[in-house]
Symmetry: D2
Subunit: 387 residues, 4 copies
Amino acid sequence: MTASIADLANSYKNIRLHSVSICEPLEIEDYVVQPIGDVSPPKWHLGHTTWFFETFILIPHSPGYVVFDKQYNFVFNSYYETVGNRVIRTDRGNLSRPSVADVYRYREYVDNYLLDFLASHAVSTEVKTLLELGLNHEQQHQELLLTDIKYILGHNPLFPAYSNQVAEEAALGNADWLSFSEGVYEIGFEGEGFCFDNELNRHKVYLNDFEISNSLVSNAAYLEFMQDGGYEDFRHWHAEGWDWVNQNKAKAPLYWHLIENEWMQYSWNGLQKLRPEQALCHINYYEASAFASWKGMRLPTEAEWEVASGSFQWGSRWEWTGSAYLPYPGFKKVAGAVGEYNGKFMVSQHVLRGASVATPEGHSRNTYRNFFHPKLQWQFTGIRLAK
Amino acid sequence: MTASIADLANSYKNIRLHSVSICEPLEIEDYVVQPIGDVSPPKWHLGHTTWFFETFILIPHSPGYVVFDKQYNFVFNSYYETVGNRVIRTDRGNLSRPSVADVYRYREYVDNYLLDFLASHAVSTEVKTLLELGLNHEQQHQELLLTDIKYILGHNPLFPAYSNQVAEEAALGNADWLSFSEGVYEIGFEGEGFCFDNELNRHKVYLNDFEISNSLVSNAAYLEFMQDGGYEDFRHWHAEGWDWVNQNKAKAPLYWHLIENEWMQYSWNGLQKLRPEQALCHINYYEASAFASWKGMRLPTEAEWEVASGSFQWGSRWEWTGSAYLPYPGFKKVAGAVGEYNGKFMVSQHVLRGASVATPEGHSRNTYRNFFHPKLQWQFTGIRLAK
Amino acid sequence: MTASIADLANSYKNIRLHSVSICEPLEIEDYVVQPIGDVSPPKWHLGHTTWFFETFILIPHSPGYVVFDKQYNFVFNSYYETVGNRVIRTDRGNLSRPSVADVYRYREYVDNYLLDFLASHAVSTEVKTLLELGLNHEQQHQELLLTDIKYILGHNPLFPAYSNQVAEEAALGNADWLSFSEGVYEIGFEGEGFCFDNELNRHKVYLNDFEISNSLVSNAAYLEFMQDGGYEDFRHWHAEGWDWVNQNKAKAPLYWHLIENEWMQYSWNGLQKLRPEQALCHINYYEASAFASWKGMRLPTEAEWEVASGSFQWGSRWEWTGSAYLPYPGFKKVAGAVGEYNGKFMVSQHVLRGASVATPEGHSRNTYRNFFHPKLQWQFTGIRLAK
Amino acid sequence: MTASIADLANSYKNIRLHSVSICEPLEIEDYVVQPIGDVSPPKWHLGHTTWFFETFILIPHSPGYVVFDKQYNFVFNSYYETVGNRVIRTDRGNLSRPSVADVYRYREYVDNYLLDFLASHAVSTEVKTLLELGLNHEQQHQELLLTDIKYILGHNPLFPAYSNQVAEEAALGNADWLSFSEGVYEIGFEGEGFCFDNELNRHKVYLNDFEISNSLVSNAAYLEFMQDGGYEDFRHWHAEGWDWVNQNKAKAPLYWHLIENEWMQYSWNGLQKLRPEQALCHINYYEASAFASWKGMRLPTEAEWEVASGSFQWGSRWEWTGSAYLPYPGFKKVAGAVGEYNGKFMVSQHVLRGASVATPEGHSRNTYRNFFHPKLQWQFTGIRLAK
């Protein structure tokens, strides 16, 4: 932790501004809705990230700080049991108040206080650490804002575009196999900068010989799987995945629509023809595994991915790995509320590696462990094969 | 049907304006949310009532009419199977678009067209009938707007007030019993004005001797029932009602909150102390029946209510009757889509009579048959006893 | 209540024996299962009817009576809140114990005690009344035994027959219309024998002119409705019924199977070709109403049915009426647990009149009010049209 | 695969007989019920294991074999999509037929055929492999029979004992820590005998220094956790586990009952006082993890467990590990239906190692990978701590 206060204050301003700029194209109505439980209303993200700084920095560390509104702890707490009761997750879209204007006032209020606080106090290492965590937390919510906005607009029968200033496409080079030899490798974070607790400890793993593709799977390749009856053949699927296919009548990735016999794809730019040569997006772990099985291959483990990651390009899609999300050897929860950040989710989730077109700049590294439930498709997820 | 075109056009303008004025105190966010399936977002009500005029009058009867937006039929159809697919009811609150501004533009577009149409064409009796139905339909949605807005704001943890320009209170006079002798009576609509199909035919019924209260049940009387253990004693409840009590841990009417040992009630004016002398509100049929049973009395039938209605004041609360919602002798569905208006709901509902503080002026009569499922509390409902 | 003790004891023996004889063709396994919540395991019916006599007669009225097993109150109470906790209804099929042999021992124990009690005590009018109620209660469960056994065997993939000693068929004569003139009529029970509380008070009703068929609807007539697209045309259905059709993909009455393009029907005698000329069976209220609507007619009210019942044959099918199940004028619940018998179900149910091939001899009269939820098909239900 | 035909035939007879002997204490009714979806009726286990031999050996490999009953494939297929439609899992307890006697006849029929087949044919290696798999499969169902019988009787309000000839208790020695040094180890099956596909390939893993207890956790130790508020303190639980606690109001292991302030435990021998010194049983993964967290320790990984397993006693409880159930390096599914045996469950499950008091003799080894969903408690599960 060597960042200067001035640097931290600067980061704070830039990162906080970026959240606002993501929401700039929205109508007020778009800030409010929650079409499924996993998607939060944009105004909730804006409030919740602000609440994080207020709750973990200003209230405990800035004497005399007056909370903006006592009810906001109830409204904007996400899952911190330590910090008290909260609106249940699926009710976030039922709240018309606080209004969007109120939430922006809340952001401004906390920002002013926090920047004043940084300017006028001797800031402890503990606070610096919390600040860095809060900024990384806000960056995670920037990615969620972009995925949730896509879901909200992409599930509206009018299919409004989000923006033409951003693009989801990811061109793919020629696919090739990279080979790695068996032996002891090290994975996990090391060095000076920020990392999440789940990236520690750096530790040794034993890997067998493996090959990994230098390229992601394309829409065209996935179409081939579909046309070969991939969604109708149970042999490629986990039992749980096959149940998911049948219950949801799944036939294609999320956001794909067969309209007058042509595959269309909804993106931030609206509904457009599917571009076969681009990287596949929005498949869940069941689909990624089924595709790999159909190819007679498999997904890489997260250790394989990390070891190989220097040899290929990554960052446009979160890549499903075959690894369940579990603690590394020597993993320790931090004491207090921020200890709830990662550890309590270490069951029934799969690890994704890399980053995506929705990940903010400066928020990715090859030791980053993203994780989601195997059934979820709404993140910008893709497939890299191994064998 | 004797109203002149000029009168109808005038009614049209006034009634359409009244819907807009109901929404005047709202924030844009308040137009969007749907906390439970029975509550629709205010912008949906505004769009749906407009869609009714567009679909049943302008499209079939105004040659050359260009629909405002082809997708709106999908978005704003409520339950008319005849008219095609529609957004499922519980998804209304998941739609951020059309925006509130779009909906107001839609209203203006349809209003201009329709008033032009009325001014420039020989208007058939069929269209007059549809127009009158559309206006009564809009008035029903004005009441729903007021009940739904109350639910949206009253279930927000911040308890924002809707307006101080309107009041829900209903003072009660001295309670007394009115006696009626057994014999043949007539009920159902007769005369020249508008009525819904479910108020026909006027027909004879045989009533036994009965007594009916000239006054509604007060908050104080209901508190007595609660304090006597009314919600804990299965003997007063229907089996289905007792299940409802237990599943919902019901302990009081909707909008009542016990805060620091004091009963508070949320109303359009915000959260305030309960006023015991006022008329009880927001109980469902199970609660109304249980209260009556606890008193050793019963609810009146709809025929008793109608026969007696000239002898007491009514109009502040919809009054649960002991009658199921069934067709009158000789009831006939109209042909076509508007035939779906009432008849298809004639199972598993109970009749409410009277009107409420949310009912628009000019939209009540003593033959009006309102109906809801026995479990619903969110309307402005009350109790009148009989024996 | 004029039956002598000897007559009552005799009735007791015969009725109790009849329940046992109904179960005679069963395998032990058939006594145990509960494929849906509405169907109870046969051994539960045998235990529950025994519990009724033990609980309401022997325990309170026979000094020194020792209960057979203290746990049985928990196991065999159906819905009497007054009498304490009970196994939840949908768990009845999860209990392998008490075994079938235990239940028969329980029956024998209670029968011996009760017959001794009748023989050796001065039996009060109260006890006589309870005994008569208990016998009528057992007869109701004899009908349920036959409907539930049919469901258990008829939903087994092996389609085992129940018995060839009984038949469900009901031949139909020539259909004709019977006309009745408007005026005041009386309905409800009067006279000396037994009736349920819900058949009282006998009271006057006003009926309009009506016509009612002297015959039930045949399988052939219903097939015509199906072939005319009856299950695909929402216009004939209540909104709630249309939801039921779609959620259940309903296409035909219960127990009808289209096998190699031929309609088969499961009956007590096994799976056989549908016989078109026989009376239709196993439709719910939604289906009965939809059929009547398709014919341009309606179902009779329960008052019309009762007034006309002397002019036609009835008794092979429970006939859905258009009347909701509500209290008659002057209806009073009995005090104590048996007061829970009927009144608490008077919401959200429809009345059926007549009797069925499953009704035991001596248990039908034209004032009998049977009632079920509109969605239920598993009783032996049929349709009689009115207009 | 070196077993002789005579040995195999002998094993077949003994193993098949053992399944029957497990059911010997049951009443016929106990064979039928299915109180929760995870528990299958005993007669289903007896039929299903028979169906396995019929379907995978007799039908494809014994020319002229006549199936016992064509419908049984529908009734007794568990989850093999390859082999056609089947009764949905939660409906197994709704089937009274085939009767228990039918199922025993089915067993006898298949046993006779299969033993004849073995005696009179040159048996291929493929068939030998299938036979060995079928016998191991039957042994797995022997364990399930014992866990399911316990559930069926232990959830009956009469709490009948299963048998006094078997005992669940497991005495514990003095607890001590065993230390292992970091380095490369090998795990997975090697050698000549039978193993499941999921135990392959044997492969190298890198382990860090670790300590593992030589003893299981006792009832007394778990009681301490409970009395220290373990079920009320979210900090020890996974988020998913905490939801489970709250939704199920979990307060103790399965089969523990607090009766008149004393902890009782239901076992095969009936309801008895809890014995604190015995090994804990019937906790799920959430509970095991929460207990470990409360102790400031963790569960071992499956690799640690296997490496250390030579140094401690195991076999009385299935021991939850911290490892998700995933394929080993080089894992391959077998072609055809038996390829569905293990691989398709490799998501959302946790690995358990060891064996239990319900595991049949000769069916355990230290490379065996058992797996269940983290929420399940009904197996004979226990806890061994690591750090």
